[in-house]
Symmetry: C2
Subunit: 649 residues, 2 copies
């Protein structure tokens, strides 16, 4: 594999570091220090746990800087007095994060107190134990095979996993679910005879302060052949899960818990037995409780056998409709895991109303680092700004709590595979970096995070780095420009989800339609004339979406079906907006490629070649999107482009 890029301390001007701690994590840090090319110089850094503070020159200053509520197990404090720096933490995990803070900052260290915004900052791997005939080794993975599994077994050599753990810790991730939430066949055996292998992985992740989680099948008692039911109220099922949990914790005492996709896209679940998701989730949560484990229960529950003829069913409503009535019924070690949007990780969609709705239930915000709908790590699409927008989203529309404030946990689907550069597209590393950093601090600036990642990753001058950051910073908006317009979503090639197919899902069973006809386009989700989805939001947000006059342009077709001549708040008609943004998006990609060409040779050859090749593909893809979308709507509407550019017949 390539060098570990943005966690590569060798690139960073790190001061001399000493470690003062008896915590086992200190050993890990000492091992790390040997990999650092210390710059020497005026600054001396001491990392120490509070019980060793007397060994440092700034004991009193550190004590004065400690927050009243303490640092917890992960926080750390930095105090600098001239050339003396002390980074102190209550526990070794805090020191680990403090260490990487030092590595990132080098001698630019300043006084600070760092506490993570969420106690759990998690990545879900959709890695298959056995490669799926269609989905491959990693479902929605675009960076090679799995780093955990190969040929139906856990890999023997875990050195890649060890490097990954270091990488994750360097960006603040402390929880990983190692296997696909679509738990198929042999993967169920991670609960049984494969447990020693799970324990091997957990041991490696533990060194870096990362808790291992398992995705489990709701039907495991049946799949493993022990019972003929998974009815959550059947005492045999309760006993089965208790025993399974005991077995797992005997091997991995600090397992974080289970992740479950139930009654979702043909996965089994409690609906089979006429039970609700409170019954289902609490069943597993109670099996985990004696061991301190948490149950992550996904809310991606909708009818994936929808009839496209049926305009009354709205997939966007599903999660709220299913879970809001259950608010307050979940045990306190249940976390409902909620995708950021009501559909499925689109480049633009509304924020899930469930995130603003649940009051008496713990919630995880689920993001997607892997670029399923955002270019497969073949197209550049830096998602930091999109996630920040979601995190900052005011769930009431009137200065209420933001999503970041309401969520208890942040989870995302990993974009990592066994490709030498981890993420297929070298620049897609930045998405993983920013995800981790935003999960630590949701108020971080996505562009600053790009600078941070680039500085740690590339051995280039500051001007070049700034140019790279400029290329990347708005790439999500560019991706939006050349793909599905105005929040309508999808229009992607069926199954694969890369490249355009305007009608690809229009007559499918997946509930994702745009309803374009010769007169107009969009999904009417209003209360007045549509599916009533807008009512899932509180006022004044609900009214803002309901009213054509106040609905934000970028979500117009998500909420409304309008004629092509409808005039947006931008002053353009819908169809002209489609033409304009698609020409613009393509031109923007071309400009990015030009900008990249000017600096490409300053990067290492692997980066230069990887990024150049991906950009060449992105130009082709953007051109296909531009032309297919434009032609589709020209054929539909008959309206020519006002600027007279080429729209193919």
């Amino acid at each position: 594999m390539e060098d570990l890029c943005w966690l590569n301390p060798a690139l960073v001007s790190s001061p001399p570091i000493t470690v003062h701690s008896a915590d086992p994590a200190a050993g890990t840090i000492r091992g790390e220090i040997d990999r650092v090319r210390t710059a020497g110089g005026d600054v001396q850094v001491a990392l120490c746990t509070l019980d060793h503070l007397a060994e440092t020159p700034l004991e009193e200053e550190v004590r004065a800087a400690l927050p009243a509520d303490g640092l917890g197990t992960e926080g750390f404090v930095v105090v600098r007095r001239g050339g003396q720096v002390v980074v102190a933490a209550e526990a070794g995990r805090g020191l680990l994060y403090g260490y990487f803070h030092v590595v990132r900052r080098g001698d630019r260290l300043e006084d600070t107190v760092e506490l993570p915004a969420y106690p759990v900052r998690m990545l879900d791997h959709w890695d298959n134990l056995v490669p799926h005939p269609v989905m491959g080794a990693v479902e929605r993975g675009y960076a090679g095979g799995s780093i955990f599994f190969h040929d139906g077994a856990v890999v023997e050599d875990l050195s890649r996993v060890r490097e990954y753990a270091r990488l994750l810790t360097s960006i603040g991730i402390n929880a990983v679910s190692i296997n696909n939430v679509n738990v198929r066949g042999p993967a169920t055996r991670l609960l049984t005879d494969l447990l020693p292998d799970v324990a091997r992985i957990a041991a490696v992740l533990r060194e870096w302060g990362i808790a291992t989680h398992l995705a489990v099948s709701y039907a495991a008692p049946i799949v493993l052949g022990d019972l003929d039911t998974s009815d959550p109220l059947d005492p045999r099922v309760v006993r089965w899960w208790a025993a399974a949990s005991d077995r797992v914790y005997a091997e991995v005492p600090d397992l974080g818990g289970f992740v479950v996709k139930a009654d979702s896209e043909n996965q089994p679940g409690p609906f089979t037995y006429g039970r609700d998701h409170g019954d289902g989730a609490n069943l597993l949560a109670r099996a985990l409780r004696p061991h301190g484990g948490t149950l992550y229960w996904r809310c991606f529950v909708y009818d994936c056998h929808q009839d496209w003829r049926d305009r009354s069913t709205d997939r966007a409503r599903a999660a709220y409709d299913h879970f809001m009535p259950l608010d307050g019924q979940f045990d306190d070690n249940v976390v409902l895991q909620i995708k950021h949007g009501p559909l499925d990780f689109q480049v633009r969609e509304a924020v899930s109303p469930l995130l603003g709705g649940l009051d008496r239930t713990r919630m995880a915000l689920e993001l997607q680092v892997t670029q399923e709908y955002t270019g497969h790590q073949r197209d550049l699409c830096y998602l930091g700004p999109w996630w920040r927008e979601i995190l900052d989203f005011d769930t009431t529309g009137a200065g209420g709590a933001t999503v970041a404030q309401r969520a208890d946990t942040i989870v995302a689907v990993s974009n990592v595979g066994d490709d030498s550069n981890w993420t297929g597209h070298k620049l897609a590393q930045a998405n993983l970096h920013s995800y981790g950093r935003l999960a630590w601090n949701p108020g971080a600036d996505p562009v600053e995070l790009l600078h941070e990642w680039a500085a740690a990753t590339f051995d280039v001058d500051a001007a070049t780095r700034a140019q790279l950051v400029e290329i990347m910073a708005d790439s999500w908006q560019v991706y939006e420009h050349y793909t599905a317009p105005l929040g309508v979503g999808f229009m992607v090639a069926p199954h694969g989800h890369y490249g355009p197919s305007v009608n690809g899902y229009e007559y499918s069973a997946w509930g994702t339609y745009h309803f374009a006809d010769r007169d107009g386009v969009g999904v009417d989700r209003t209360v007045a004339s549509g599916t009533g989805f807008t009512a899932q939001y509180p006022e004044p947000l609900a009214g803002r979406y309901e009213d054509l006059a106040t609905c934000p342009d970028e979500l117009l077709l998500f909420f409304h079906h309008v004629p092509y001549g409808h005039v947006l708040q931008s002053g353009r008609t819908v169809v002209q907006h489609i033409y304009d943004t698609h020409f613009q998006g393509y031109d923007e990609v071309v400009a990015k490629v030009e900008a990249w060409r000017a600096i490409a040779d300053r990067f290492d050859p692997a980066t230069r070649d990887n990024v150049s090749a991906r950009f060449a593909g992105q130009v082709r893809n953007a051109r296909e999107w531009r032309d297919q979308v434009n032609t589709y709507f020209f054929r539909m509407s008959g309206v020519p482009d006002a600027a007279g550019r080429t729209v193919y017949r």
Copy 2:
């Protein structure tokens, strides 16, 4: 597997048979007779080669009946005088066909002389040596795995192949190409270390008078690692193929020849070296010549990386444009293998102008028994009438030669797999039966052939059989009704080709578009304003297609782009025709299911369940087609159905 159905002599009232011949085939026939439940009775049949005629009671009558030009190796004569019947042939293969004639006719034998219309009547298997990750064991196969290959090797136990050979002989097929024309990786080794396995298959097929053929890769000299070129004018390449051919014939002295798909859908070919298909085909033909082999060179050559924006390129033109200039340049052991239509085995398309064009080149008409675009053997679609229409097609439009008269050979893609009933859908057997019988006699009546197949297959009374035949007879037209309208073709789900996707290929690289917009639909292939394809036909045919007023309705959108309000010769508008036929097609399927339900219980349980289940699926499929096509054109045109039926928005 199931009983061998329509070749099952046990069902047939066969008279007592004796065999008089020293030909090896006589042994095969004697073995067959042991499987026959002879009815006894008044008729006695003697099968004999002419050199044993003296052993029969009707020597003189038979000699008088012999045609002046003789019977050739496959013909036979039947002479009946009261209870005495003699079936005579020059050679054992003629006796084999005569034997199955007796089995089919039972005691209804009458005087006849039977000579096959074509010396070669062939089936091409698209069977993969190694299952393809997407295409599976049999490319475009819908009846299970391959009967020849399993897990990358020729099957050890050839008993299924033996039964298949018997089946083919019973319907007159005498040539089989055993492997996929897309020759991938290990399949190239059928020319080398797998030759002994080819010889094993050939030995089994030979018993039944069937010549084995191999599909070979044009790049075999490179793929097998011997050369770095396949340039047909390079002496090393010439020598390589001569040696390869020698090697093959040393193992299989009566191999029929090679089948080649070159420069077609990413397969290698002479274009790589700037050579034409005359150079390419003659290269292989000359390697086969010393051994008496024939080269089947497919004409399915077109640009499969077409840009949908480019309206000047027309895939329909490709075969004619490529091959007509080469007419007369092919060696006489080259047969150009030409798909019946200029696109690709659609339920309705024009007949390939190449079939009417080539004058100095041997031609094979290529049909498709496997139901790639006609329902995957999940939907009932009896293709006999379609093939008969193609065979009868007047290539000049003014009483000129028909396709049947112009073709030298008939080839079709097999619909057989290792499913217990051979063809997945039990009733799809009839397609194989009729194909074989039409290749023997292109003037046979497709409905009569259905009766013949049903009589030999099902142990039911004549009235039931007649009802079954009625259900099946027009199923191709019904399939046309509910799928792509007016000859426009495609509109199928990409890749798989089952089920509707009106826009599925509209923006693809495959050259198969319908160009529907808010005003109209269809492909302008006229000389006046379109791609000029019509000029590939001779007059008066060309003019008939060129002129909107004379173009047959069923091909209107194949040749013309017209407004939705265009009035067909039927008096209906195009859009109303679309609505009408799609409602009709669905209703017809429902009626067939009703008709089947009334007789289903009279059939054996396996047939009853198989056909009933497939019909249930066909109703769903026809409904999807009906509604998706209708809705698509309603959304496009805005024209409501004149009859007020439900067209979803």
